[in-house]
Symmetry: C2
Amino acid sequence: MDATRKANLDRAFNPQVIAVVGDKKITDYMWLKSVRDAKAKVVSVQIDENEIPGILEMGFENYPSLADVPGQVDYVIVAVPRPVAPRIVKDAIDVGAGAAALFTSGFAETGEEQGVQLQDALTQMTHEANFNLVGPNCMCLYHSKTGIRNSADQWIGEGGDIGFMSNSGTHATSFVMRARNNGLFPLKSISMGNSISVDQGDWLEYLGDDPEVKSIGMYVEGTRDGRKFFEALRDVAARKPVVIWKGGQTREGARAAASHTGHLASDMALWDAMIRQTGAIRVDTQDELMDAFKALHFMKPFTGNRMGIVAQTGGQSVLVSDAFGREGLTVPDLTQESYDILEPIVTVVGGSYKNPLDVSGSLTSIERGREMLDTLAADTNTDIIVIEASIGFISRRLERQGKTMDDLIDMFKEFQESTDKPFGVIATWNQDEAALAEFRIKIADRGVAVFPSFQDAARAIRRLREYYVTQAELAAGSQGPWRSRRRGRRH
Amino acid sequence: MDATRKANLDRAFNPQVIAVVGDKKITDYMWLKSVRDAKAKVVSVQIDENEIPGILEMGFENYPSLADVPGQVDYVIVAVPRPVAPRIVKDAIDVGAGAAALFTSGFAETGEEQGVQLQDALTQMTHEANFNLVGPNCMCLYHSKTGIRNSADQWIGEGGDIGFMSNSGTHATSFVMRARNNGLFPLKSISMGNSISVDQGDWLEYLGDDPEVKSIGMYVEGTRDGRKFFEALRDVAARKPVVIWKGGQTREGARAAASHTGHLASDMALWDAMIRQTGAIRVDTQDELMDAFKALHFMKPFTGNRMGIVAQTGGQSVLVSDAFGREGLTVPDLTQESYDILEPIVTVVGGSYKNPLDVSGSLTSIERGREMLDTLAADTNTDIIVIEASIGFISRRLERQGKTMDDLIDMFKEFQESTDKPFGVIATWNQDEAALAEFRIKIADRGVAVFPSFQDAARAIRRLREYYVTQAELAAGSQGPWRSRRRGRRH
């Protein structure tokens, strides 16, 4: 992506003037509403006399065409019927917009002749003009700081640090919502749709070069320029964590992907090899994506594989050990020093398998819990500390002591800050599912990694360990031919 | 298990008189409270003068020993320190109790000499007397109809039809709670603990012979008599579904299991072979256990593998296809007849991959949704119907039409009753996690199978299909040598 394109995308993400073309009452003026709180002047372009009164009532100025909008337009949202789309994109090019985002669908993804032809026309037009077209068939752009959104339901505000790009509008939109529920702050989320102009490689490079973006996630169905994407991934993943969630992994999914965004989803083995070689992080679901980001943002980096675990009961000790064992992590005995400290405070430690600590009767207070965590963290046999928080069980006990869940969360936060070892909480089932949801949101909001199950925690920790190990190997130059090639090319 | 033992267990589950021995204030009289609402006379046996006043205050009669309790005692809960346990079990034998459940822990699971000796003594005593000892190191018995419980937090009432047995007290107790949150009705749940007297094979046979038990689940860490267990499983699994959740699958988990209930967790490959041969259902987590029971109890039986799917958006279409594809299920094109019906009502069907139906703009009303489901169900290319319910998305749309989630659930229930094909709902993420939890509970309570994610739904459906296919093969006598052996032996 050349400097002009990049500067224009920056204008679109940080606009002075936003124009929404073709918004309608039937969809409740979704696009005007999605950007009405943006730090920008928002205007409407609409020629349908039935739609204009509603738009004016909402307080927006309306113009008959982009050319009539006074001043420079930085970001154009296009929601017109598909046959009209090329003309509006042409207008956006002519007025020198930073980018146009094309919500309209019905292009190559339909497989229909008219759709394919229209997409070809858009592709040629934008390539010739060196113009940034987002989509088509997309939910446009999100930037938390300037308040442009994929949907009016999304959070906006300061402090975002995650970049996300997605072939799916649903996932681009929901990423922002779910990230906030998980205590994470998205900065930019891009619904790429069919990605005919700004493609996967471009977006990756763009997010990679954004100094405010600390980590990058993507939902990707396919890419038209695999070589370009691979080069961008190799470059960016060496600088910041990239989490890749690939849709269309199976024959069934690939067929759906083709009709969703018109991408041919290539063999998952190729993607896997690329992810491995570049040191990116692979996930398979949105839940796993969230877990990976929580581990990246809230847990200190690690390369060891020895777990120190606090479990609520004996039955849970077995399951949590299985979960970590299945992912190739170990649950070693602790040192004798630790047992000497724990013996008087953990009822069953004398006779029990000595890690996980099965604390059933022993977690008598928050201070007692903190002692156990401190002992695990100080032990030279552990690399990573996790605790199971069985919400119903603990909260009843805390209540009797006049304490609340917030006191427990404070303790977890303080413990996390006191140790160099990565720390995570596994918040397990509860009769009161709503209370559990509340606990998860609260603890995540304090910046403590919280996982919904033993298996989810084990998988995320295994993946993050692979990531840090690979990054260390890549940094040491020990990772095979491509690394040498790049080094040769660059230096 | 001989007829006497069985009759005695029946007495314990349907007691006239329950005696709780050694309950204490420090644990908030947990055992007396857990059975205070049982359909039985509940008495206390306690000799500690400091504890007796609290017990009398709660309105229980107290006796100095089991022998002093008037009339026949059917079920004894023992919560005394471990050195005293053998004497109390001896008393229970002497008064002719139906069973004693030994909450007390600290036996062979500790690996300590005293614990091992005490367990040996208990084993010998109960074997000689042909006496039913539940545990030790357990959370005792639950029976919804008579109101005996593992914990006062558990639901009791009529209508239960699931039997559960568990080496873990946590899982025995939480199974009942979680089952109710999933719309399922547990009948009997047994915390087996170290299972030295009534063992895994006995319990399985007992639940298998209970005519009110329609399906059986178990959390099992190991069994001392593998041959007996295998025989019981082979027999029972041929008559009713048995879901097996094995703890101690890995080296890490097996070590934890040994110190939890003193069972040696044998090679998972052996368990897998046994599960496959007997036509039981394997699960690996409590979530999977719940999903298996929902599919068993709420979905009609099936052996086909062709999915008919309604997804909310294009991005979700790809993911749901991947999820089912990964589990080896297919997502075929529908018949032309279906497309002729769907074309006018599903906006994108003309150009889209034609299953899953991507209904983004098309799910305009509950009636429209019902039409889509009816069309999928009537299609000769489908065997199983699922719909994604994206709660936040749908509920906003329903609200504008003056409808609620309950109306949608009604429609799902009516559709389910109208078709012979199995039906499931996948309730996906929502900004409001508490509302999502409420929806899940509500729809499950109506007897509609609801799964928390595409992958969970696909896994459960794949497993249930394997189950029904295997059962059909076993019934046809085509399942290899052991079946023939059994047939030879039996007929």
